[in-house]
C-alpha cells in the first residue's frame, strides 16, 4: 500500500523527534530534510499534538518534542490518525458478484497482514532499524 503524504510526514516527524527526545526540533528542519512544505507539515504536527504524540513549545528556541512511550507507540497508532486502515473494510463493502466477494477475501488477507505489520512495529523498534540502516550505509 502507498501511504499518503500526510501519513509519511507524520511518521518522519515522530521518528525525528523520538530520536532526540531531549531536544526541541524545529518543524522547518523536518520539512527541509524530507523536502515537504512547512505549511503541510504544520497541519500534520497539529494532529500529532492533539493526539498527545508530540508537544510543542512556542517562542524563540521552541519546537517540537516526542511525548509518547516509544516502546508502546506503534506505526499503526500514527497511521490511523491520517488513514482509514481497518480489516474488513473490503468485506464491509457490498459483496456483489462471487468474483467481487472472492477478491474482497484476498484484499482482507492483505489488510490483515498490513495491520499486523504496522501494529507490531513500535517507534523504539523503528529507531533501531534506522540505526542499522545508518550503519549499513
Amino acid at each position: 500500500m502507498k501511504l499518503q503524504t500526510s501519513t509519511r510526514l507524520a511518521l518522519y516527524s515522530v521518528l525525528e523527534f523520538a530520536a532526540r527526545p531531549e531536544q526541541l526540533v524545529a518543524a522547518a528542519e523536518v520539512a527541509a530534510k524530507y523536502g515537504e512544505s512547512a505549511h503541510h507539515l504544520a497541519k500534520v504536527l497539529s494532529e500529532l499534538s492533539r493526539a498527545g504524540i508530540v508537544e510543542s513549545v512556542r517562542g524563540v528556541g521552541g519546537g517540537y518534542r516526542f511525548a509518547a512511550n516509544p516502546r508502546r507507540l506503534t506505526l499503526l497508532d500514527v497511521i490511523r490518525l491520517f488513514e482509514t486502515l481497518e480489516p474488513g473494510d473490503a468485506a464491509a463493502q457490498r459483496a456483489g458478484t462471487p468474483v467481487e466477494a472472492a477478491l474482497q477475501q484476498v484484499q482482507a488477507e492483505i489488510d490483515q497482514t498490513t495491520l499486523a505489520t504496522f501494529g507490531s512495529i513500535t517507534v523504539a523498534t523503528m529507531l533501531k532499524m534506522v540505526e542499522e540502516a545508518r550503519q549499513a550505509a
Binding site: 516502546r71 506503534t74 490483515q112 497482514t113 499486523a116 501494529g119 507490531s120 512495529i121 513500535t122
Partner: protein, 168 residues
C-alpha cells in the same frame, strides 16, 4: 538436563527496594505450579495436563534440541520460554522455533522477555542454528511488538490454515 547455564541480568525485576536479579535456567518440576499459574493468569485457561506433557517433552532431556527455560527473581518464576530445533520443514534448514513465551504482567518492561529469548537463542546457536522463528496471532500486537523489538522480521515462510471438520 541441559541448561544449567544461569544468566544474571543487570536489570532487576521491580522498582524500588532490594529486588533479586533475574536469572534464566532450565525448568524444574517444582516450577510447574508457578508456570501453570502464570499461563492461567495470562490466558485465562488452567491447563495442568498440557503443562505436564510439555514438561515431559521439553523440560527433560531434549539432547540440546528442546528447551524449556524459566526466568526467576529470587524464588519466584516470572517468565518462561519454550522452543526446539526443527529441521527440513518444507526444505528449510534447521531453525530454532520458539512457540511459547510469557512474562508475569507484574514483571514486564524490565527486560525479562529479552533475557529469556536471548538464553534460548544462545542454546540454538550452540547446535549450529542460524535462524530463529516463531508464529504469532496477527491481532496480538503486544507479543508481535516484543518479537519485532528483538529483531525478528517477516521471513520467507507464510503461515496458512484451513478450517477442517466443519459439517459440509
Amino acid at each position: 538436563m541441559s541448561g544449567t547455564h544461569g544468566k544474571t541480568s543487570t536489570r532487576h525485576a521491580g522498582t524500588g527496594g532490594a529486588v533479586p536479579p533475574v536469572r534464566v535456567r532450565a525448568v524444574r518440576r517444582a516450577d510447574l505450579p508457578e508456570v501453570i499459574a502464570l499461563d492461567a493468569t495470562v490466558t485465562g485457561l488452567h491447563k495442568a495436563d498440557y503443562w505436564q506433557r510439555v514438561y515431559r517433552r521439553y523440560g527433560v532431556g531434549g539432547q540440546g534440541l528442546r528447551h524449556f527455560l524459566v526466568a526467576t527473581a529470587g524464588a519466584r518464576v516470572v517468565g518462561f520460554v519454550i522452543g526446539e530445533v526443527r529441521d527440513w520443514e518444507f526444505g528449510s534448514p534447521p531453525c530454532g522455533w520458539v512457540f511459547a513465551i510469557d512474562v508475569d504482567p507484574q514483571a514486564r518492561q524490565q527486560g525479562v522477555g529479552t533475557l529469556l529469548l536471548s538464553a534460548m537463542r544462545q542454546r540454538f546457536e550452540r547446535v549450529g542454528v542460524r535462524t530463529l522463528r516463531t508464529m504469532l496471532a496477527s491481532d496480538n500486537h503486544l507479543i508481535l511488538s516484543f518479537f519485532r523489538s528483538q529483531g525478528l522480521r517477516a521471513g520467507r515462510l507464510i503461515p496458512l490454515e484451513l478450517e477442517v471438520g466443519a459439517p459440509s
